[in-house]
Subunit: 316 residues, 2 copies
Amino acid sequence: MTTKTHLKIVALAGGVGGAKLADGLARCLPPENLTIIVNTGDDFIHWGLNISPDLDTVCYTLAGLANPETGWGRREESWQVFQQMERLGAESWFRLGDKDLATHLERTRRLKAGEPLSTITRDFCQRWGVEPLILPMSDTPLATMVQTVEFGELAFQEYFVHKQCQPQVTGFRFAGADSATPAPGVLAALQQADALIICPSNPWVSIDPILQILPQDGSWRRFPIVAVSPIIGGATVKGPAAKMYAELGITPSATAVAQHYAGLLAGFVIDAVDANLAEEVRALGIQPSIQNTLMKSAEDRERLAKDVLNFVERFV
Amino acid sequence: MTTKTHLKIVALAGGVGGAKLADGLARCLPPENLTIIVNTGDDFIHWGLNISPDLDTVCYTLAGLANPETGWGRREESWQVFQQMERLGAESWFRLGDKDLATHLERTRRLKAGEPLSTITRDFCQRWGVEPLILPMSDTPLATMVQTVEFGELAFQEYFVHKQCQPQVTGFRFAGADSATPAPGVLAALQQADALIICPSNPWVSIDPILQILPQDGSWRRFPIVAVSPIIGGATVKGPAAKMYAELGITPSATAVAQHYAGLLAGFVIDAVDANLAEEVRALGIQPSIQNTLMKSAEDRERLAKDVLNFVERFV
């Protein structure tokens, strides 16, 4: 437990890296003091089912159900349905395991019955034994579109899974951003928060969609915000963030991420290998913190979460 | 092969017993000479998926994919999705295995995309290596409703699976019979047929729905019709047909089935244990044939199909 367990924390998270830190925070904080707001800009329909990749990664990770090897899907997974779907000629570029499939099936059924994604997610978490509140950023669609040289605009999963992040990125668009609203609970959590932590997720396609859905007048930012760099030594542990920076003409680095969030951040956590960038971060008016940010084990997650929480306390 | 392989046969089939004889016929006839029209009155939506129990039983049986123990679903089945669905609080009274689930998932996706059930079924059969034409009786909904003492009117699967055939039956209703039409290919197959075989399926809830969907002026009956009794020694091998006869005040017997179809049949195949009923059948103006109708093995199916085809030839 961190020293100030009374701190109410909201964390913004996307996929694997974000889920790991969120899990670390869940190991450090009383569940009622942690709300995790998760990107749903990657959500899409596949096999007629509503898939929420980031939401599931975060929920599975906190439930201890995530596959540690792939970074997506369930551990101890089987592929019976997938094999039969292939035999029936169904699209096979997005792999859905048997256990994972149940989540999408039941979510789709309940969405079609009129229940909002946030309610369904809360119920699933209860059944999976996840205690902190995990909220989809929105119950209404906001779709992250990746603009590319080769294929023009691609829906995120088309770019990310089907085209394996190969196309050259020129920009992003958040379709539906004008009409999508924060899910019930999101603004209330922000109102009660003492601090906000931006997990080490892709700034362009995991965190920006969440920021897009929040009130654009910035009225929600009444607290210090601390981010953890998803870029370590100029590269990402997983995912295309560094490639995206490079293709957009920005040298991928922790500094580039700090610049991305400039104006939002009070503090920024960079990895020890990037210690030389601390002054660049400070020059942006952001206080740097140098930590071991690589999370290979559950202990790493908890240690980094503690370090981040200790750092956050400086600002509250 | 039967002696007159040029005979074009249409078979009407419901669940397990019907599927077995249909499989026997498929083993005796060139595929282009056999069309199987399958009851879809049991079709329903479960977990948000379109389930066609009889259609799948017939297709799986002919594909060699059917579970020989249960009489439904796939052989070498696993239950990963089902277990996770239970954990998520989904309805668990209708068991869907992993391999089976792929059929419903892909069918549902294609139905929602606007493809008719008959087209989807034809494509699935091609992929499963099923050669004879298997047609759902209709692409439009006709729902078999079971009227009961205890619960009033029940959708068929509610009665059959959820209530395990316990309620006392008072009658049946075919909801949508006025507007439902035969699937494309059904009337053409009947026009080209030399004879029609009614498989040993439940007369009330497997065969009557198919007969309901055909032109009620009887214009399609230009050929001899032969039925195989699903009741052997006053009981059924599987399913509630005998129980239904009893509850409707009719002694369950092969004769009762012959009476059920009276006016349609040229010939009626009864089991050797019911040889004493041959004269009762003959008294109805229907020619009886005494055979071993129990199908325990693939050889039984083929032998019975041959016997039935030989019997049919007397009338063509």
